[in-house]
């Protein structure tokens, strides 16, 4: 292959990537830009202002909804980190045979459209006499976040060389101490990554909140849903810009924690020991 064609190929690749990213970011870029535009109706010419941001912070309803969403997502993230990690440890260490059943359950939580899952959950909560409530939303969000938490932690646990724990044991560590000194540090970033993922999913899970939140109690997605139906809103532009910013920060964190996985996960050297064969 000549240098010319390979250079041409690189150019084609770059163009493809730039065009696709442009397409993906076009609507968002417009919103970000308009959030600094003075016109109330999004019309040009562009005139810079921070007015919509100050107005945004003056709006009690959006502030309350955002705080509610953050609280809900934080709660879900913590709970999912806790029970998702323990079930992963259980599946890897104690009951590998339960793996197909549990992962089928987790996969259903992803496969069944949330519309149906949400309605089904609502039916259960109504039957139990709980009905629409914040705790219902919390549990529903937890179920939809758990698959991500578990699959991330499970992958990391399975990539761990089982000899690491044995090495710690042979060096005099008790079973508990081997977990604390070797396993926990090595999976902590995956646990945190899973929790961040759970946070993101809960924060944006409109459908579950739509069906399970009590009427009148609004999370951020529900608030936006109510506002968006009435058309253009400059303060929503400002809000979207902030949410977008938070998402970018979150993704950078996620990549540091889970994307950099290979470095921390890869057994330090040597082939994986062939268990059972010998």
């Amino acid at each position: 292959m000549s240098a010319v064609t390979s250079q041409g190929r690189v150019l084609v690749r770059r163009t493809t990537i730039v065009l696709t990213l442009g397409l993906l970011f076009l609507p968002l870029a417009v919103i970000v830009l308009l959030s600094f535009n003075a016109s109330r109706y999004g019309t040009l010419p562009f005139e810079f202002t921070l007015r919509w941001y100050t107005e945004l912070f003056g709006r009690g309803d959006l502030f309350v909804a955002t705080r509610r969403s953050i609280l809900l997502s934080t709660g879900t993230a913590l709970a999912s980190a806790l029970i998702g990690t323990s079930v992963s440890v259980w599946l890897v260490r104690h009951r590998p045979r339960a793996l197909p059943v549990v992962s089928a359950g987790l996969l259903s939580a992803v496969t069944i459209p949330w519309l149906i899952l949400g309605i089904g959950m609502l039916t259960v909560f109504q039957t139990l006499g709980i009905g629409r409530s914040t705790s219902a939303v919390f549990l529903g969000s937890l179920v939809t976040s758990l698959p991500y938490q578990v699959f991330i932690v499970l992958a990391r646990l399975r990539a761990l060389d089982p000899s690491l724990e044995e090495a710690a044991r042979s060096l005099g560590a008790s079973a508990l101490r081997a977990q604390a000194r070797v396993v926990v540090p090595l999976i902590s970033s995956a646990v945190l990554g899973g929790a961040l993922m759970a946070f993101t999913i809960t924060f944006n899970n409109f459908v579950i909140q739509y069906f399970l939140m009590p009427f009148g109690v609004r999370t951020l997605p529900l608030e936006i849903y109510t506002l968006v139906r009435t058309g253009y809103k400059p303060d929503i532009n400002a809000l979207s810009t902030l949410v977008l910013l938070a998402t970018v920060v979150l993704i950078v964190a996620l990549q540091r924690l889970v994307g950099g996985v290979q470095r921390t996960v890869r057994p330090v050297a040597g082939p994986r020991p062939d268990r059972g064969r010998d």
Partner: protein, 305 residues
């Protein structure tokens, strides 16, 4: 003498360990995934005056409902195929960039996917609104009337759904392409395969399994979508999902909500099953071509992610 006592204590401890470690997740999955489906089945057969098949009759007799389901499934197919076609070049291109740039690119790609999709809907609404940035630009170029727009038509829903699911498809296809090393393509070329043959005989068969996963990841949520159509689709844009949601939020008819939910779920599962069968037969076909005989295909899961 103490044998049974020890055994009991040991099994009690095992039970406690299982309960603490796995209990919460297993109970949650049972109560909020398995039970709801059972309860929906039950509710679909219970009317105001007791057990009845009225709900299912209404579904069968309605001149609107089943055609609407067909429309939703068609839309989901169109959206998925369009997403695939749009995502493939970018996925392939990203997989061929230097590995240190890849996380950055993939990170950028997921930004819209992890942003609240209500914000995405809003952003698209603003972008394509009559007199909005896109229509103004098209108007300035003389390609369209700046005052008009396809907002509030079914096409807006389609565009939105493609836009919304493009990132995940790019991720899936980039991951799949990454697993096809350049060496493999060079090997195929060295054996005399033309560009098209490389695509058909090497790239495609190796991408199909991931493509099936990507297909499921887009098809399922699109088939169950309703907010996009509700906000962007206008009066003609109603989807099956809207009817289901309305049974809960407006009509308050639990029986019909259950009937329609189960109908959609069944349809989705059938499509996933077909996909699985297709993937398996393609896998067998590829292996058969390779080994010159039919080979039992490995157990595979569509939704491996």
């Amino acid at each position: 003498m103490t044998g049974p006592a020890i055994a009991t204590r040991a099994s009690a401890r095992t039970f406690l360990r299982d309960a603490v470690l796995a209990g919460p997740v297993v109970v949650l999955l049972a109560v909020l995934v398995a039970v709801p489906l059972g309860l929906l089945a039950f509710r679909s057969l219970i009317g105001v005056e007791g057990p009845t098949l009225a709900g299912w009759d209404r579904l069968a007799d309605s001149p609107i409902l089943l055609p609407l389901l067909g429309k939703s499934l068609r839309l989901a197919t169109v959206v998925t195929v369009a997403t695939c076609i749009l995502a493939w070049p970018a996925g392939w291109a990203i997989s061929r960039t230097a590995s240190r740039h890849r996380p950055v690119l993939l990170g950028l790609v997921v930004v819209p996917y992890l942003t609240s999709y209500l914000l995405l809907i809003y952003a698209v609404l603003v972008l394509i609104a009559p007199g909005g940035p896109m229509m103004s630009a098209l108007g300035a170029l003389g390609l369209a009337d700046a005052r008009s727009s396809f907002l509030y038509t079914p096409r807006a829903t389609t565009v939105m759904l493609v836009y919304e699911h493009l990132p995940i498809m790019i991720i899936v296809l980039a991951a799949a392409s990454e697993r096809i090393p350049d060496r493999l393509l060079e090997a195929a070329r060295s054996l005399g395969a033309g560009r098209l043959a490389v695509l058909r005989r090497v790239v495609l068969p190796l991408t199909v399994p991931s493509l099936a996963a990507g297909f499921a990841l887009v098809f399922v949520p699109v088939a169950g979508s309703f907010v996009e159509a509700q906000i962007l689709g206008g009066p003609d844009g109603l989807l099956f999902g809207n009817v289901i949601a309305d049974q809960v939020t407006r009509v308050n008819d639990p029986m019909m909500a259950a009937v329609l939910s189960l109908t959609l779920l069944t349809a989705v599962l059938i499509v996933l099953g077909l996909l699985q069968a297709l993937r398996r037969s393609v896998g067998t076909f590829v292996r058969a071509r390779r080994h010159g005989g039919p080979v039992r295909s490995g157990r595979t899961r569509v939704l491996a992610g």
